[in-house]
Symmetry: C2
Subunit: 570 residues, 2 copies
Amino acid sequence: MEIHNINVSSYPNSKKKFIDGKLYPIRVAMREISLYPTVRIENGRRVEYPNAPVTVYDTSGPYTDPDISIDFNKGLPRTREAWISQRNDTVTLDDITSEYGRKRRDMCQLDAIRFPTFHKPRIAQDGKRVTQMHYAKKGIITPEMEYVAIRENLDNQSKGIESYITPEFVRDEIAAGRAIIAANINHPEAEPMIIGKAFSVKINTNIGNSALSSGIEEEVAKAVWSCYWGGDTIMDLSTGDNIHETREWIIRNCPVPMGTVPIYQALEKVNGNVAELTWEIYRDTLIEQCEQGVDYFTIHAGVLRKHADLVSDRLTGCVSRGGSIMTQWCVIHNEESFLYTHFDEICEILNKYDVAVSLGDGMRPGSIHDANDKAQFLELDVLGELTEIAWRHDVQVIIEGPGHVPMNKIKANMEKQETVCHEAPFYTLGPLTTDIAPGYDHITSAIGAAIISNLGTAMICYVTPKEHLSLPDLNDVREGVIAYKIAAHAADLAKGFPGANVRDDALSKARYDFRWKDQFNLSLDPEKAKRYYLEARRDAPDADDRFCTMCGPNFCAMRISQNIADKCKE
Amino acid sequence: MEIHNINVSSYPNSKKKFIDGKLYPIRVAMREISLYPTVRIENGRRVEYPNAPVTVYDTSGPYTDPDISIDFNKGLPRTREAWISQRNDTVTLDDITSEYGRKRRDMCQLDAIRFPTFHKPRIAQDGKRVTQMHYAKKGIITPEMEYVAIRENLDNQSKGIESYITPEFVRDEIAAGRAIIAANINHPEAEPMIIGKAFSVKINTNIGNSALSSGIEEEVAKAVWSCYWGGDTIMDLSTGDNIHETREWIIRNCPVPMGTVPIYQALEKVNGNVAELTWEIYRDTLIEQCEQGVDYFTIHAGVLRKHADLVSDRLTGCVSRGGSIMTQWCVIHNEESFLYTHFDEICEILNKYDVAVSLGDGMRPGSIHDANDKAQFLELDVLGELTEIAWRHDVQVIIEGPGHVPMNKIKANMEKQETVCHEAPFYTLGPLTTDIAPGYDHITSAIGAAIISNLGTAMICYVTPKEHLSLPDLNDVREGVIAYKIAAHAADLAKGFPGANVRDDALSKARYDFRWKDQFNLSLDPEKAKRYYLEARRDAPDADDRFCTMCGPNFCAMRISQNIADKCKE
């Protein structure tokens, strides 16, 4: 498959590698990058020293697996279905529960755009909870837990790299609420991944249009594009008429967990009229999406009626869509938010499908001026309270964080979040470290994201160059993902995450050896690195390649450095 | 003047603003951005609230001054000439001192490419030192010191923003070696600027080709391009045949301090044959460039013979061009580096022209693996020793730093540098916080640059997206400069630099008011911000502009937030 002239069915010089489980019959997918040998001239003879392949974390799922044929109309293999059914704590329903969902199903004019296969929704048996947290608290290691333990370790063990990550450790982190595996029982196509500060830092990408996209295939392509570049989860923020059907297509073809903000769809159902939003409409929307397979919901239940006044001291008011919608609802009705008053009920829905809750930061600062203010931190206190409620229902929780924060105020965010939210994983948008660079906010925010990840944030939500200006296109998605992979990886390195330096060291060795192809293949964006190099070498494609055009052959320090080393050896 | 379709003779909705000195008859240039009024509908009536203009630091010099006509053949006004001559401690020479320089002058075949006007070089009177440090130690406040004091404060005073920066403070920081004003007496065209941790963080851009550029005008345009986007200093790293003449053109037209690495030209003079480099050739090169007006020299005098062996433990050897050249020289001759053995003599040349020394980090790490290793830190010890020597000669000093450093090792760099180099300003390249993103190293390094600036680094040398791959073009220069302006400004904000938040607050207010033009004009790259916005609005140019295509009108949080505020008021 090609998107933007890039073949997203494979990575250059790479192949799928699988590591088998020991507790369960599972195969954990990774990407192995083969390297060329290092060539040295010794005593006038050409000698080759092989370089071991490098295994890297792989978010692309079956799309880069040559043994799986991709058919969007059929969806991805439902690998986890067997694991789930073998737990014997769920039932499949003959019909979907959501009233809205049934209405959509009955509209024959939608037949043309509907995903062809109907998978019966699965739900917990009466009185059961089916969340990973529930199992973990009971001391059970699930296949999902073993899967992520292996996935986080890559092939470290074979390289003698020690790691603290075991299936038991994963279980204990989940039981304590310090990590989550967002894995709806109705999204068995997704490969399990873990979000928590003891694990590698993850990145989320937002996709979705503000107006309906014409082609379903285009929406699926966006999801694949995100996975190809390294997005660990996807949030579909689409609004518009056919989001129910579009979402079905995306989920059935999505190898990573998918999140949504259900209030967006609820608002669409009342034609954008905030006053008409009700708990019943929202509740039906939750169930509709739970049964489709959404893995986590952003719920702005921490936005309370009393927050509305606090916003008036701000320079940029409320910049969260969900937060502003709920604030408006509270003001119009002069009532407490139904997300807050019905939070127990929400949790009792979620734990029947294992949908995680991402507690939205409706009061996140939208400018340097508003960072760490009263509105923001009061909401965070409420999120801490809600975290405890969710955990009582065995619902997995992550906490959303800002936003716009100057570097000197980042640490306080992390510390306060850890304290009041009892170490539930932090999931931040950036933060952006200055307001003065629209057009470059992937950079203003990658700085903040790297810093806060190093301090313990578990997942960072990307920001694209178009932030504040317009809807990102596919190229912006790519730029945003790479900027965030950089921030996440820089944090992994700084935290000393086991094996994080393997790829850096391999790439730097390739650089020093002038193994250009390996340098490209090991990089986060092989296509761009190769293009930059080749464009500049157009005029001398066949010349000695032991330099680049930046310094030229006479001033290449690495080249000189090798000559010195050779001389020293003599 | 247009470069890359951008008019670099003015900034949108901006004008030059001048603040007069109190001690000296000086005019300090700044840029004032005018803003549109905030429009509110109150009781059905349109009410306008004016917004005060915003004054920002301006590196563009006379190029954006409509009162000065630009003629590259004449060069920029030599404003500082009067200040220098009035100190009565210099003489003008009838002829240039450098043997090489005189040889170039006598080659009639160069007449066609020579800068038309010959300015007699100026030198300290016998036995005098003419450096800003010399004056500062004597308790003298120079016009340059008053200039930078005013420049750093912008118009803060009129806004009631308190600042610790006074001419006396500037003098004391320079006397203590904690800050420098790089201002060669032979570059009177440059506007004084200060580099020191108590001042706003500065950025350097590298220009210059690895092969000779055909057009002189093209080289000057590169310098102007850098100044337009916000480069505080320029390093001309050109190599090739006519660098002497090219440099003259650049300096005569350059409104910011310019640095070079004289060993590059010295190596050109011996046709790239390192073995033939001599102290005499290097010395003549220093004098040649001192008399042309170079403001600071990178000198790799800390690279010693004994360092060659340490490099063998590294993954990526020696990645500094100057460092590798000097190491090679030491190995070939089995002698100590002439830069080290002649360092006193070098300083006695530099203090006659007030050229600052930037002590090069020839042993900087070129990979995450090599960060903070023995080679790097042993060299830093030598740089500390050299700092003391330079200061004894009243030569101003900055210290160059790495390189590739993971986030967790950045602080140790800053702390060690401050300790062993006695708080001489730190000037770092990045650092790059991971090796795995060639094509995006402006981002990997902006993260490190922001962090280290926040810790006290005074100037950061930009890295472009083409780093490690090829020579940057004009667009890469722009991308690199903006990434570094972001890092520098994020650090200014985090350090609480007086007035740093004014621009952020104004831009965020504009954003909240949907004053799109103000948001663009206040941004670091108005052209790009505007283009991104307008491209997406192509289909609805006349629509209500109180939203952007990212969220659309119904889901615009700021719009909803304002509606709430209006409702609350009612």
